[in-house]
Amino acid sequence: MLTYVARRLLVMIPTLFMISVLVFIVIQLPPGDFLTTYMNELKAQGEAVDPSKIAFLRAQYGLDDPLYIQYFHWAWGLLHGNLGFSFEYNLPVTEVVGDRLWLSMVLNFSTILFIYVVSFPIGIYSATRQYSWGDYGITLLGFLGLAMPNFLFALILLYYANVVFGTSIGGLMDPQFINAGWSWPKVISIIEHLWAPVLVIGTSGTAAMIRRLRANLLDELGRQYVVTARAKGLSPMKVLFKYPLRMSLNPFISDIGNILPQVVSGSVLVSVVMSLPTTGPMLLSALQSQDMYLAGSFLMFLALLTVVGMFVSDLLLAWLDPRIRLQGSISQ
């Protein structure tokens, strides 16, 4: 087990290195750099840009250096926990991300919770009552969430939340609470705004989860040990929860690897449409304006979380399902 863990850990280093190179290349791919984008945007609004000032900024921010030097500059900083400097905000990346990070977490933990709370019972119900009206009806609901374009659903919810409840459009709280200290009304306001994005992002995730649970559970329900347990007179509920359900938890656990990065990046599209103060829209705008250290550090952070998440889910799986662990050691 220990060698397994150590090997998994060591593999993470070259993986992250490869990712960092890729991320850097991808960010540098579009023509121009942050300053050309910035200049064009100013020009679009009729503002004149002083070319000499731009030349100065380019030199100061090291945008004149060859790419590999810029890369090493950035990578060196990352190794020392320095995420670099955001041109757009004129602040260190860590300061820019600040508040948004945990608002993203609030949103995404709520969403994950929502997905579990909805898909768990539905999955169990539809597996135990396969091909019944209930199965069809309830999974149809799940598919509706998957099929409906997220942004459309989001806009409709925003509109009705405003018309019916008078909730301010977009955002995660009423404007007067932004930057304000914590208070009870602020929490209420967040809850008031939170349900719509949770519903939008959540419904698209439930269908997949329901299907996976249903399929896994169906696999298990037909197995010999279930039949045996039933024949021995265990109550159907007890049989279900004690054995097959535990076995079908596999996908939930392997999902943890994806959950961590999701919690940070969130559902970018929905966050953009609903103008949520999460990290998703910030990543998008950083990519658009070629604010390369902000975008790069974000992507690296997400990559790190994915790798760590995968590691955690592997450990959990190994603990949950001995077959995985055994195979790992057999191949050694």
Binding site: P31, Q45, E47, A48, S52, Q60, L158, Y159, I169, P175
Partner: protein
């Protein structure tokens, strides 16, 4: 000598100062004595004044504050208090606070005449080469430090002429033929810039919506400057912020346009109080702002200006839900019907303002295109005329703009003192017969099987029009134009690109034709720089290479080689050197040549802009001009005079 007279000033401020200038007790006495009169304290500051943190209003104002002429602006005296909320699309747009604040050394009034604003007065010599700037005695920065000639000196000597901060030297408007001005500090409140030749760029630049800030808060910025700060302390500050050197630190701390440093003193009506990053920025009133209303009350009336940041796509919906007090940014004519409908049960009204740009969409035939066949065609006036005559602008207007726009050329607007009717209306009638006759006359008579004319070298006459791909209406416009051009034997293809790519292609001569917005400054006055009508700028899509040639001093691009363009360059020099007397003549000539030659093919202009104003927000004009230059959108209407009646 002529001078820009200052607005009426308030001489009795000094008397009060003499009478009560003995210690803090007298201060307090002064406040109470004058409470209720025109000098009543602003409620927002009442506590601070009472506790002595802030001096009384009369002590905060300069000796001769700028008294706004409410009668001329059609305004009424207001009351203090309240917030003014508006929405911006990105947090970068906090710079709009400076645009709306519209505080310049010298700025335009509503008749587009230049008037001193921060300056008390400004003297210019006969030929426009010596400028004497006089400050207001007792004018203070937002932190209470005096605003003096030292701030100008600091900018000139220690900022622009510092090699590390400005490696390439002072900005172009401060140079005449490469020669920097002679800068003198005459006394604590007077500075002078003089050149050996006229500098017509100086005043328009100072009055530009984005002013160049040739003064900086020296008392604050010196702490980040190598020359004044202890090297060890400076190095520590640089290190703490993780920057490369002190020059970056100074530049970061010193952004008078994008007010993001909450400690940077300013002269604006509102001062930023929210640190980036945020989704809501609060600007609080500047206690030392230099303007007063006719009764002598210090402006602004409104305590706080608030920018909420929201995704641009949600803005119309948010405005419709009544979440703003004033909004024009991001809204377009498309939102008008929706907003008008929402108006019924929300407490706001939509107004339609005129716009300042010459044209909503303009076709730019690239006269400096690399392809020699295309170049010959596009440079033929008959060809450009034929293209223009084969466009049904009335149809465009009706289909896309509810008939609210005006078919017109890409030229200045009727409100400009230089305007002549024919500038706007020549060659815009829809006349397919004439267009076909012109093309036949050019010898483009052969056609292929689809009825498309053939170019002299046998290729079909297919014009690819490139757009920046940002405005979906542009595709609709081009679809309509394509239909009518087809009838003149010309095929149109649309190529939507990214803005950067589009520009680079134009600069390099790959673009045959592009569709872009028309001229920015439709309200030009003789002193405005005529750069949009003369090949001096590579961003002018009708002649990018000529502009490049001028901008790089002949290192890149091509020398203008059409007689009309050469003439334009001569006139530009005339405008530049001729002094104020010659400028109008040069402008008229330039506009004549542009109208005759149809260098750009304007489509429709005057597309009105919706402006949403909450009920009870007073002093916002019913009709205005929504334009970046000149005027800074709301800026020219002095948002510091807006007030709440509720």
């Amino acid at each position: 000598m002529f001078s820009f007279a200052s607005f009426p000033t308030v001489p009795h401020a000094q008397k009060h100062k003499v009478a009560f200038a003995s210690g803090a007790m007298a201060f307090l006495l002064g406040c109470t004595l004058f409470a209720g009169s025109a000098w009543a304290e602003i409620p927002y500051f009442a506590d601070k004044v009472k506790s002595g943190v802030l001096p009384a209003m009369e002590q905060r104002l300069p000796e001769h504050p700028l008294k706004l002429d409410f009668a001329a602006e059609g305004k009424e005296i207001g009351k203090y208090g309240g917030d003014m909320v508006t929405i911006m699309g990105r947090s970068k747009d906090i710079r709009m606070a400076v645009v709306y604040g519209y505080t310049h050394l010298i700025g335009y009034d509503q008749n587009l005449e230049l008037k001193p604003d921060i300056l008390e007065s400004l003297d210019v010599n006969e030929d426009g080469s010596v400028f004497t700037l006089r400050l207001r005695k007792g004018h203070k920065w937002s932190d209470g430090a005096p605003f003096t000639a030292e701030d100008f000196r600091f900018y000139w000597e220690d900022v622009v002429n510092n090699e590390e901060l400005f490696p390439v030297g002072p900005p172009r408007f401060l140079l005449v033929d490469g020669e920097p001005p002679k800068f003198e500090v005459l006394d604590k409140y007077t500075v002078r810039y003089s050149w050996s030749q006229p500098n017509p760029f100086f005043l328009p630049e100072l009055a530009a919506t984005r002013p160049p800030f040739i003064y900086r808060p020296a008392h604050y910025l010196k702490q980040f400057h190598e020359k004044y700060q202890d090297p060890q302390k400076l190095a520590a500050m640089v290190k703490e912020r993780g920057l490369r050197n002190w020059a970056v630190l100074e530049t970061d701390m010193d952004r008078p346009y994008k007010l993001e440093n909450i400690d940077l003193p300013t002269l604006q009506p509102w001062v930023i109080r929210t640190q980036e990053p945020s989704d809501r920025f609060i600007f609080e009133r500047n206690p030392y702002f230099h303007r007063v209303d006719p009764d002598g009350n210090q402006l602004p009336y409104i305590d706080r200006m608030i920018f909420n940041i929201s995704n641009a796509k949600l803005v119309p919906a948010k405005v419709g839900a009544g979440e703003v007090d004033i909004q024009s940014r991001i809204l377009t004519l498309k939102d008008y019907t929706f907003l008008k409908q929402a108006e019924k049960d929300k407490s706001f009204h939509v107004r339609l303002w005129d716009v300042g740009y010459g044209n909503y969409a303009t076709l730019y035939p690239n006269l400096t295109v690399s392809d020699p066949v295309w170049r010959r065609l596009l440079r033929d006036l008959r060809f450009r005329k034929a293209l223009s005559l084969a466009i049904n602008r009335t149809e465009l207007n009706r289909v896309l703009f509810f008939g609210l726009a005006t078919p017109r050329n890409n030229t200045i607007l009727p409100k400009s003192p230089l305007f002549k009717k024919e500038y706007a209306t020549e060659n815009i009638g829809f006349d397919l017969n004439k267009a076909n006759a012109l093309l036949d006359d050019m010898g483009l008579t052969k056609r292929n099987d689809d009825g498309i004319r053939l170019m002299p070298d046998g290729r079909p006459l297919e014009i690819i029009v490139e757009t920046a791909g940002e405005n979906p209406e542009y595709d609709d416009i081009l679809a309509l134009i394509g239909d009518s051009w087809q009838k003149a034997g010309i095929k149109l293809y649309v190529k939507a690109l990214q803005r950067e790519v589009m520009r680079t292609r134009a600069y390099s001569g790959d673009t045959v034709m592009s569709l872009f917005t028309g001229i920015d400054n439709g309200l030009a006055v003789p002193s405005s720089v005529p750069s949009e009508f003369v090949p001096v700028n590579q961003d002018s899509l009708q002649w990018p290479k000529w502009g490049q040639y001028y901008q790089t001093g002949g290192e890149a691009g091509e020398k203008p080689d059409m007689p009309a363009a050469e003439e334009l360059m001569k006139l530009y020099d005339q405008w530049r050197i001729g002094g104020p007397g010659q400028q109008k003549k040069a402008w008229e000539h330039i506009l004549d040549i542009n109208a005759e030659n149809l260098f750009s093919i304007g489509l429709v202009g005057n597309v009105p802009h919706p402006v949403v104003v909450a009920d009870g927000l007073m002093n916002v004009p019913e009709k205005g001009i929504h334009s970046w230059e000149p005027g800074g959108f709301f800026g020219i209407y002095h948002p510091d005079t807006f007030w709440w009646d509720r």
